[in-house]
């Protein structure tokens, strides 16, 4: 039955934003931990660790996020776990974010002048202290703008979780569209909501990048 598009439908779509946000936050936090591990492994002394991290990044940046989602989703069954769209989406997006953040942060770590590391070694700081107090704080300043930029990509990426059946913003739109058949209105609303989430972050990233460029050229 096709029914009228009402304010309850708009409310349903708007309230689905929270699932998009929850998924984005999980993936970002998971990705931050994974990404740090990947970035440290990628810049480590050990050759094997560097190779593995590089391979991880290449695989996740060289395959579609949609395929990664499907693989994790059906992979849960292979492992004998119950198939749960939220779990699958969270795991796949975390792995995805780990690879991208790992690559961004590797660049930032490598951009810290080598003299800084050498000085820390001369002070006989351990690897842990060297990273924690010398290298990472400086790398973090360089990494913030591209990290915020990636967050936009991640929020947009969560829309693909709708394809494996997780009801976030895009899937809420599909559900309402199937009931009311007002695609122009429904997907226009959905797009506007994503825009409201992403645009401020894009502006922030651009602003930080411009400030960083000033700081470097000064």
């Amino acid at each position: 039955m096709i029914r009228e598009f009402s304010s309850a439908d708009i409310l349903f779509i708007v309230s689905a934003v929270r699932w998009t946000l929850i998924l984005s936050v999980i993936a970002f936090l998971g990705g931050a931990i994974g990404g740090l591990a990947v970035a440290l492994a990628r810049t480590a002394q050990g050759r094997l660790r560097r190779r593995i991290a590089a391979g991880f990044i290449q695989v996740f940046q060289g395959t579609p996020l949609l395929m990664q989602l499907f693989l994790v989703y059906f992979g849960l069954a292979v492992l004998g776990l119950p198939i749960d769209p939220l779990l699958a989406a969270a795991v796949a997006l975390t792995l995805h974010a780990s690879a991208y953040l790992g690559e961004i942060w590797r660049g930032a770590i490598e951009a810290v002048p080598p003299g800084q590391t050498e000085a820390a070694v001369a002070l006989s700081l351990s690897y842990r202290d060297r990273m924690r107090h010398v290298v990472l704080p400086q790398a973090m300043r360089l990494a913030t703008a591209p990290t915020v930029g990636f967050l936009v990509q991640l929020i947009k990426g969560t829309s693909l979780a709708s394809i494996i059946g997780f009801t976030e913003l895009t899937r809420a739109g599909q559900i309402i569209n199937n009931a009311t058949f007002k695609p122009f209105l429904v997907f226009g609303t959905v797009a506007a909501l994503y825009f409201v989430l992403c645009w401020p972050l894009s502006l922030l990233a651009r602003h930080m990048e411009a400030r960083m460029r000033l700081a470097i050229t000064r």
Partner: protein, 222 residues
Amino acid sequence: MYQFNFQPVFGNLDLLLYGAWLTVRLSLMAMVLGLVVSVLGAVAKTSGIRPLRWLVDVYVEVIRNTPFLVQIFFIFFGLPAAGISLSPNTAALVALVVNVGAYGTEIIRAGIESIPRGQIEAGRALGLSPAQIFRYVVMVPALRNIYPSLTSQFIYLMLTSSVVSVISANDLASAGADLNARTFASFEIYLVLTILYFVLALGFSTLFAAIRRAFFTYPASR
């Protein structure tokens, strides 16, 4: 214990390889048309005409801050309400071109702005026509400068094109989905699909490196 069964995949490998060819074709078409849109967008953005610049700004920001999946739904399901009905394959191509055009516009604009003004003035002093200046003094050096970001955007486009399977346009991902509906060997199918996409990504980056060597190196470095 899960029993792996790759028989359905290898028994139907021809279907998947044909799907891979469709993805290559779709991506190549989207890249070429997307490049045209990007150049036009970048020229409009760097032109002095204010309403035109403003229009391109809105296009770029809207596309870059909304998911591709929502864009393709809007084009495939939404546009018929406005009297524009597209087949799944056409809608897929249009959505990809519109999407990559927005990213490409920004990339090429950055390339054009990286050309020093003095270089254009030098072209004028040599008596080159405006068209020659645009082509040899602005576009070719600009493309050379932004070639790495443009081609990685193109590879990202090829990976994103897997999403067109949701409106059942024909590509590698939808070939896999069809096979999955018939055989239910889901994990095995998607594992092989992922590997095929990875191979395509490697193939495209090899192709782009070859194009770079052929067309975008300075004569001195040949």
